[in-house]
Each structure stands twice: as C-alpha cells, then as structure tokens.
Amino acid sequence: MWANFLIGLREGLEASLVVGILVAYLIKSGHRDLLPRVWAGVAFAVLVSLGAGAALTFGPRGLSFKAQETVGGTLSIVAVAFVTWMIFWMARTSRLLQGVLEGRMATAISRGGLSLVLVATLAVGREGLETALFLWAAAQATGSSTQPLVGGALGLLTAVVLGLLIHRGAVRLDLGKFFRWTGAVLVFVAAGVLAYGIHDLQEAAILPGLHSLAFDVSSAVPPSSWYGTLLKGTINFSPKTTWLELVAWFAYIVPVLTLFILALRSSPTGPSKVPPTKTANIPASAAT
C-alpha cells in the first residue's frame, strides 16, 4: 500500500507543482478567463494518457520497451522547452503588468494562450502514459487485492492536494516574490526533467553512456524512501546520475538561471520598486 502510494505521489507531484504555479500566475495577473485553457490542457492529457494506457494494457498491442522510453524521453525534452517558455513568459508579461502598456500585455497574453494549453498538457502528459500504465496494472490486480489501486490513487490525490497547497501559498505572495520563487523553482524542475529525458533516451540506447555514472548515492537516498520519492517527484533527483545527465543539467541551469536573474533585475516587479498590493490590483481591473 505504502510503496504504491509513493509511486502515485512521485508521478503526480511535478505536474501538480507546475500546474499549481501556472494557475496561481493567471489568477494573480487577473487572467482567470484563461484558466479554462489550462484545465482543457490538463483534461486532454489525462484522457489521452488513460486512453492510450488502457489500449496498450487491454488492446491487441502492447508498447515495446524502446518505444516507451523514446516517448517518455522525447516528451520530457519537449516539456522542458515549454516550461522554460513559461518561466520567461511570466517574467515578460509581469513587466508589462506594471500598467502603462495594457494593450501590449493583452497581446502577449493572447499570444501565450495556445502555449498555455501546451504547458499544461505536457506537464501532465509527460509522465501521464507511464502513470496510466501503472494505474491500469494496479486496476488489473484488483481481482486479488485492491491495495495497489487504492494506494496509487491516494498517492496521486496527495500530489494534487500538495499542488493545491503550494498554489494557495504562492497566490498569497506579492508579485515580486512570486516571480522570484516560482521562477527559480521552475528552473530547477525543468533542469530535472531534462536530465530525466536524457536518462530515458540513454535507456532506449538512443544516447550513449548509461553506465558512466557521475555519482551513485542510492544507499543514502533509496528511491523507495519517502524523501527519495519527494526529491524524484519534484526536481527529478536521481540517486544514480550519469555523466551525460549531469552535464545536461548544468548546461541548462547555468544559462537559464543567469537569464532569469537578469530578467528579474530589469523587471519593475523587483523588490521595493512597486507596492505589492498595487501590482496585484492593476491587472484585475485591466482584465474585466
């Protein structure tokens, strides 16, 4: 029960974190009207994942190992691109939020509209197929025991609740703090997803170096422990990290974090320039 719970928790954490931040941003910037797009993306990903998972579990054809790893790896790397876009899109539109250029902001937001659907879809869909295959396997086991399904489902539910709590906390922050914190969190999430995608492609033997480990701390951070689960589920920390994963992680985090910090510097949402209550109010009135 506990072990299945942790699998569900791990699979759901990152998606609910990204979606929670995205929703918090839209609410804070006064664009509740765009929320249906996010939910559409989430629903789309859940339905496609469950559908594809069911077809592969009960249908005439299964998914080969290599195909599964290739799908997981490719979707992860595409997801990194969109989460990165989301970080800088939030930073850019936050600058326009400062009042004077409402027209331009409206354009930026509506341009971002399609990508919003995609970010939500990919955040959920990236691990969606893997999660669906796990859930259907757990459902198949209900003949002998319902514990796997109950455990896995409770884990996913816990992930959603945690995402909701993070969302609640993030909404309360003033806009400047909100960007600094959620942006930084997302940079680390995206870097982890990139490393994960690289690992999938290494397992599929599309990329080399699966056995060239940079470090192996699996005795200190067992993947089946709760803290290993939390680290894996949020920033995709892998206790056995290959050199290629590590290099990709740094190659992503150094430039992106630098650009992000530069974007914050040039942003009027930076500390102490604009009273937080005011920033929160402007877009709300601009949206109506």
Binding site: M1, A3, N4, L6, I7, G41, F44, V48, A52, L56, G59, P60, R61, G62, L63, S64, F65, K66, A67, Q68, T70, V71, T74, L75, V78, L114, S115, V117, L118, T121, L122, G125, E130, L133, F134, A137, A138, Q140, A141, S144, S145, Q147, P148, G151, G152, E203, A205, L210, H211, S218, S219, P222, P223, S224, P239
Partner: protein, 123 residues
C-alpha cells in the same frame, strides 16, 4: 489549437508505429512469468525462441520492484519495466535476437539486482 493537436498526433503515431509488438492474449504460452520477492527472482523459463518475448512480472514482495533484461555483457539494457508496486503485475515486451541474456529483479529499485542467465534460441 493546432499545436497541441499536432503534438498529440506525433505521440499517437510514435506509439502506433514504433511500438508494434503483439499483445495477443491467446499466445500467452509464449509469455514468461516472473515472480519478484525481497530475495528471489523466479523466472518460469530460462529460454525462449527469438522474436517477441513477453515477461509478466508479478511483485510478491513488499517493496517496489523493477525487472530488467540485459544483454550478454550484463550492462546493455534490452528491456526494463519499473514501478511494479507490491501486488501488481506488469509486462515487459521485447523483441530479442538469438543469444545470451540476463534477467534481473531489483527489489527496492537499487543495486545490480537478482540475476539469472537467459537464453534466446533460434525461432
């Protein structure tokens, strides 16, 4: 709305065309049962004819397990199924050429796993 649809199409095509392995329940005599516990990895057959081989891996332990099929060097991953929670059965479907392989269960998802040689014959 065109972008998400094109990505989805891409994913569906990828799943549909790359992953053409048969899931046929009638050919279940071809599927090999694996039972993974805390200290054992029972594989119902030590050899199989080449082509599509299907392992049905059941976790009878209390920790999450994963199952690997390695190449003859014991390193190259031919196939792997992870996140097999306690009480769950998951399938690994691989296309294999004749040769020597190793099976491995990894209860707790750490270490080199409980290994056994596995032979794929001309078929």
């Amino acid at each position: 709305m065109r972008q998400p649809i094109s990505i989805l199409t891409f994913a569906v095509v990828l799943i549909g065309c790359v992953a053409c392995t048969e899931n046929d329940k009638d050919s279940n005599e071809g599927s090999i049962k694996v039972r993974s516990t805390a200290d054992a990895c029972e594989v119902s057959a030590a050899e199989a004819p080449s082509g599509t081989v299907r392992f049905e891996v059941t976790n009878d332990g209390s920790e999450v397990t994963e199952f690997y099929l390695y190449g003859d060097d014991g390193l190259r991953v031919v196939g792997e199924v992870e996140d097999i929670g306690p009480g769950i059965t998951r399938n690994l479907v691989v296309d294999v050429a004749p040769g020597d392989y190793f099976t491995a269960c990894k209860p707790g998802m750490v270490g080199d796993g409980i290994r056994a040689p596995f032979t794929v014959t001309e078929g």
